[in-house]
């Protein structure tokens, strides 16, 4: 059966485009549309779709409020359409906070080289969201269990690598890579860390360039540890998290005892900007693999190769479990490659970090 989607947007033009794009996929069917948030809530209740796409700026009720109400009343995956501006970033992050699972820019040219690629991406994201679960923070409010085979997978049955023999106290940094669902997941993990967390933290979140400054700012406000967007020349410091800027690549460079950041353009053909693999691989030389690599929720398999390279040098690798992932893709790739020595629910990642290092 085709995935059932409801499209909420006040612009008729945009509604028609989204409907066209989604309906062109035989596996997806737009079953209803709404012109504002309030109507969206009603249509969602009535039609019980698998996925909702939601505009942010709408009359009567904005998309963020609508997401919050949908997650409270009849939770299901919501894909936000946003603008890639600083303001748009703030609103999108608010929407993610409210429970939206993923976002797409309204301007497809910003994420794909051509229109067709963007259409494919939209359909893929909708399909991925349909398979996902509502985030765990919202799940308690969920009235019924949803999910597909992937999320029902028994974590215990997954392949698990032997725990790395590298002593925890010799690790020099925590590297975290994530994508879809990451903004909320990172908040959850970093929020619990104390100001004096002894290791530097490196964050790679798939995100457009215009979003990362706002996201870093937001994390910094929410967390006790310092969080900021990384810039070339930054030195890794304990208790400070550096977020890879969007649209570019973050490289770690060893300089004696110090490890510095270099931000550079992406090599041609790179899909993810920033890429978890590229940053993780740079830590092989810079930090001699003396790191904890954490792979959280996200679509695709970015992070697997970087993790593999680190793992060979004895790095510790944690992966988020299927049940708490918005999209169990990147962690699954790491787990299935036999690279993860711990598989954790999202809510346990923060406490585990504290237990291991503080």
């Amino acid at each position: 059966m085709a995935l059932r989607v409801v499209v909420v947007d006040d612009s008729g033009f945009f509604r028609r485009r989204i409907v066209e794009i989604l309906n062109a996929d035989i596996g997806i069917e737009v079953v209803g549309t709404a012109v504002n948030g309030l109507e969206g809530i009603e249509v969602v209740k009535r039609l019980d779709p698998d996925v909702v796409t939601m505009d942010i700026e709408m009359p009567v009720m904005d998309g963020i409020t609508a997401v919050r109400r949908i997650m409270a009343e009849s939770p299901r995956p919501v894909l936000m359409f946003s603008t890639l501006t600083t303001e748009g970033a703030k609103a999108t992050l608010d929407a993610l906070d409210a429970g939206a699972m993923d976002f797409m820019p309204k301007r497809f040219s910003e994420i794909a080289k051509d229109e067709d690629a963007a259409k494919v991406m939209l359909r893929r994201r909708v399909r991925a969201l349909a398979r996902s679960r509502v985030p765990h923070v919202m799940r308690s409010m969920a009235t019924r269990e949803r999910g597909s085979a992937a999320s029902e997978m028994d974590t215990a049955a997954l392949p698990r690598a032997p725990v790395s023999s590298t002593p925890l106290h010799s690790l020099r940094a925590v590297l975290i890579g994530t994508s879809t669902g990451g903004p909320v997941a990172l908040q959850e993990v970093l929020k619990g860390l104390p100001k004096n967390f002894p290791l530097p933290i490196i964050l790679v979140q798939h995100m457009p360039a215009s979003f990362t400054p706002a996201f870093a700012q937001r994390l910094n406000n929410l967390c006790e540890i310092g969080v900021r967007e990384a810039a070339s020349g930054d030195v890794l410091q304990p208790g400070c998290a550096l977020l890879a800027p969007g649209g570019q690549q973050m490289i770690l460079e060893g300089a004696g005892a110090q490890t510095r950041i270099r931000i550079q353009d992406s090599p041609p053909g790179t899909i993810y900007k920033p890429s978890v693999d590229i940053t993780f691989q740079s830590a092989v030389a810079a930090l001699k693999g003396q790191v904890l690599a954490v792979v959280l929720t996200g679509m695709g398999a970015d992070g697997r190769e970087g993790t593999r390279a680190l793992r060979e040098l004895g790095a510790h690798v944690w992966a988020q479990d299927a049940a708490s992932c918005v999209v169990f893709g990147m962690p699954a790739a790491v787990i299935e490659a036999g690279l993860a020595d711990h598989i954790l629910a999202l809510k346990d990642v923060g406490p585990a970090l504290i237990k291991s290092f503080c």
Binding site: F13, F14, R16, V19, E20, V30, V31, G32, T83, K106
Partner: protein, 697 residues
């Protein structure tokens, strides 16, 4: 990037964004009055946001950039981080102008040029939280401008600076005109860029472009279909039910429109709405879910025109049948023809309704025009609008735009006085301009009224004589009311001040001609010190007009009924010649007489009859008598364009087919009068042939 104006997605965008832009125009003016209205601020923000979103989807960078900046400004406003002030409003209104130009470019298939750097800079300066920003060149308050005798002629220079026109103390005529062009808003999107010479000429881009589509409501469309089917009871529910029913109608009307849209029943959407329709067909139950959302269909204007044309043909056939009915004695046939006549009349009304648009479409630009002009002139003016919802034919709505802009500008520019002058005369500082519309029977009345200084008939008469437009003897006899009509004379309405309605060189005479072309009339009334009132009357539609059929030289001619006041049978042997013009006394007033038969056969002598039919027509307040050979009666005529041979012949508005199957020419009364007003037409015979006839009795 290649722009294909036919691209359906682009069309879809242009329609939606066009509507938003139109709404923005009003919302912004409203906002200036109610700067604290949060809902309004949000709505404006969203409109820019939505246009930007669509433009981004289509990769129209120029639009994205300018909308993005405007959006930023409004984001600050709605977050209370900035206050609305005149410079901000000016800048945002310039954005609308620029967007209009861009839309025009897109419609004609050009990639729009980026917005002027100056505009983006100004927006960027406004997009940071803070206090009011003064225009780049500090503006002296309007009253400080040196007072020249006619204060109207020197709008305050600083205000001009902010609109991007050169700023010296005195502005030249050209500058003033280009300012006015900018003011005209929607229809004359002269590029606002200050430095380079405007790329787009000041002609109206919007009107010169074909309108893409018209909205008619589903009910109207259904009514239309019912008419076509000749059965009002059939309710269109599904394609299966409706399609076969619609087919028989093929003979009399173009069914493709009907068939195409029927497939979706009443909640359907037009052909452009492929997406929605495919959704609906995929899941029929969604139709219910979506009701309320899409109750209108989009129909190409061309199709509407086609339907109107066909209805016109039908009216002609009806006329012919009705005529034949009188000759046959067959009762059954008579009844059938009677029914046909009724249905045809209903159909005609229904089709006309689909072409109707609220005059709001034109009116909505005036708050902006008045606001900008008043601001640049340093005046304080309230524009009161009523009757916005009055419907009239789409073509009329479009054709009215320019004349109305001119009349409104005149009222603001020349009617309403400067605040100080008003106060000195014991009037409120703030002037009022009223713009209204109302339907009266088969006519629309428009009113443009100001409470300004009014016109002085004495001055008007003197000026007209000075300019050689009026004989001094005529001037003496001219009533005050008739004197106001002098402003319609081509030579009078120049910048050479008559202290009143002067205009821009090509002024009121053009307005009058345009309105006359629409089969309309214009009347003026004015009181010195109290204001001026203009009353424009127009027919509801242009396509079918009631006419008086007359006989001239054995042939039928149609005189639009709108210009006919009355029909008199007069003894023309009792006419007089006054100033070389034959006239006859009717109820104590002299009625100029024109023998239109002489127009057909110049030079022919027509003997005065004791019992002649005289059709009294009026153009503005001027009444004249047209002497005709015979009267046929009233008929609804459908205007057909003239063939090549007759095209451009002055005095003819078109042709039509009469009830008896013949062809009749439709007389363009104002044009004919102008033609016949020239020497040589004024009497029964050539002035050259009868040099002393002027003294005749």
């Amino acid at each position: 990037m290649a722009i294909d104006p036919q691209d359906e997605i682009l069309q879809d965008f242009l329609v939606e964004a066009g509507e938003l832009l139109e709404a923005l125009n009003e919302q912004l003016i409203d906002l200036e009055q109610n700067p604290e209205d949060r809902d309004l601020l949000n709505a404006v923000f969203r409109s820019f946001h939505t246009i930007k979103g669509g433009a981004g989807f289509l990769n129209l960078n120029a639009l994205v950039v300018v909308c993005h900046h405007a959006e930023d400004v409004f984001n600050l406003l709605r977050n209370n981080q900035r206050k609305i002030e005149p410079f901000l409003m000016d800048t945002v209104l310039r954005v609308l102008d620029v967007l209009n130009v861009m839309f025009g470019d897109l419609k004609s298939g050009h990639e729009p040029d980026p917005a002027p750097d100056k505009l983006i800079e100004d927006l960027a300066r406004l997009a940071v939280p803070g206090e009011a920003i003064a225009p780049p060149r500090p503006a002296a308050p309007p009253p400080a401008v040196k007072p020249t005798p006619p204060p109207v002629a020197t709008p305050s220079a600083p205000a001009l600076a902010s609109t991007g026109i050169g700023a010296t103390d005195d502005i030249t005529q050209e500058e003033f005109e280009s300012l006015l062009d900018i003011m005209s808003g929607m229809d004359s999107p002269a590029k606002v860029a200050p430095a380079p010479p405007p790329k787009a000429p000041t002609t109206s881009i919007a009107t010169s472009l074909p309108e893409s589509g018209d909205l008619i409501t589903a009910e109207e469309f259904d009514a239309l279909l019912d008419q076509l089917q000749g059965n009002k009871k059939v309710s269109v529910t599904s394609a299966e039910d409706a399609a076969p029913v619609a087919k028989p109608a093929a003979a009399s009307a173009p069914p493709p429109v009907a068939a195409a849209n029927l497939s979706e029943g009443s909640s359907s959407s037009g052909e452009r709405d492929d997406a929605a329709s495919s959704t609906a067909t995929k899941t029929p139950r969604n139709a219910a879910a979506n009701t309320g959302a899409e109750t209108s269909v989009r129909v190409d204007t061309q199709r509407l025109d086609e339907i109107m044309n066909l209805v016109g043909e039908l009216v002609l056939v009806r006329n012919r049948m009705t005529m034949l009915r009188t000759r046959t004695m067959d009762d059954e046939l008579g009844k059938a023809i009677g029914a046909l006549a009724l249905v045809t009349a209903d159909l005609q009304t229904a089709v006309m309704k689909t072409r109707m648009q609220p005059i709001k479409k034109v009116f909505s630009r005036f708050p902006r025009v008045v606001r900008d002009l008043a601001r640049s002139l340093g005046k304080e003016i309230d524009l009161e609008i009523f009757g916005e919802e009055t419907d009239l034919d789409k073509n009329l709505v479009e054709a009215l735009a320019d004349p109305l802009v001119h009349l409104i500008r005149n009222a603001v520019d020349h009617g309403v006085e400067m605040p100080a002058v008003r106060e000195a005369n014991g009037k409120p500082r703030k002037g009022t301009v009223i713009l209204g519309a109302a339907q009266e029977g088969d006519h629309i009345s428009l009113i443009i009224q100001d409470d300004g200084r009014g016109m002085d008939p004495v001055v008007l008469r003197r000026k007209a004589v000075e300019k050689g437009l009026l004989e001094p003897s005529m001037a003496e006899r001219l009533s005050d009311r008739d004197s106001f009509n002098l402003i319609f004379l081509a030579g009078l309405s120049t910048k050479e001040e008559i202290s009143d309605v002067s205009g821009r060189g090509v002024g009121m005479d053009v307005v009058k001609t345009r309105i006359a072309q629409l089969n309309g009339t214009i009347e003026i009334d004015s009181t010195i010190g109290r204001g001026t009132k203009l009353l424009v009357k127009l027919p509801l539609t242009l396509a079918i007009l009631p006419a008086l059929m007359v006989i001239l030289d054995g042939r039928q001619f149609a005189i639009p009924l709108a210009s006919v006041s009355e029909i008199l049978d007069l003894d023309l042997t009792r006419s007089h010649f006054v100033d070389d013009q034959e006239a006859i006394m009717v109820r104590g007033h002299a009625l100029p007489l024109y023998y239109i038969g002489r127009w057909l056969h110049p030079g022919r002598l027509i003997e005065p009859k004791t019992e002649a039919h005289v059709v009294v027509v009026h153009v503005a307040q001027r009444k004249v008598g047209l002497v005709v050979d015979g009267l046929v009666g009233q008929e609804e005529v459908v205007i057909k364009p003239l063939g090549r041979g007759l095209q451009g012949v002055p005095g003819l508005a078109g042709a039509t087919i009469t009830g008896d199957g013949g062809i009749a020419l439709i007389i363009d009364v104002p044009e004919l009068l102008r033609l016949m007003g020239r020497p040589g037409y004024g009497g029964r015979g050539s002035r050259v042939a009868r040099p002393v006839a002027g003294a005749g009795v």
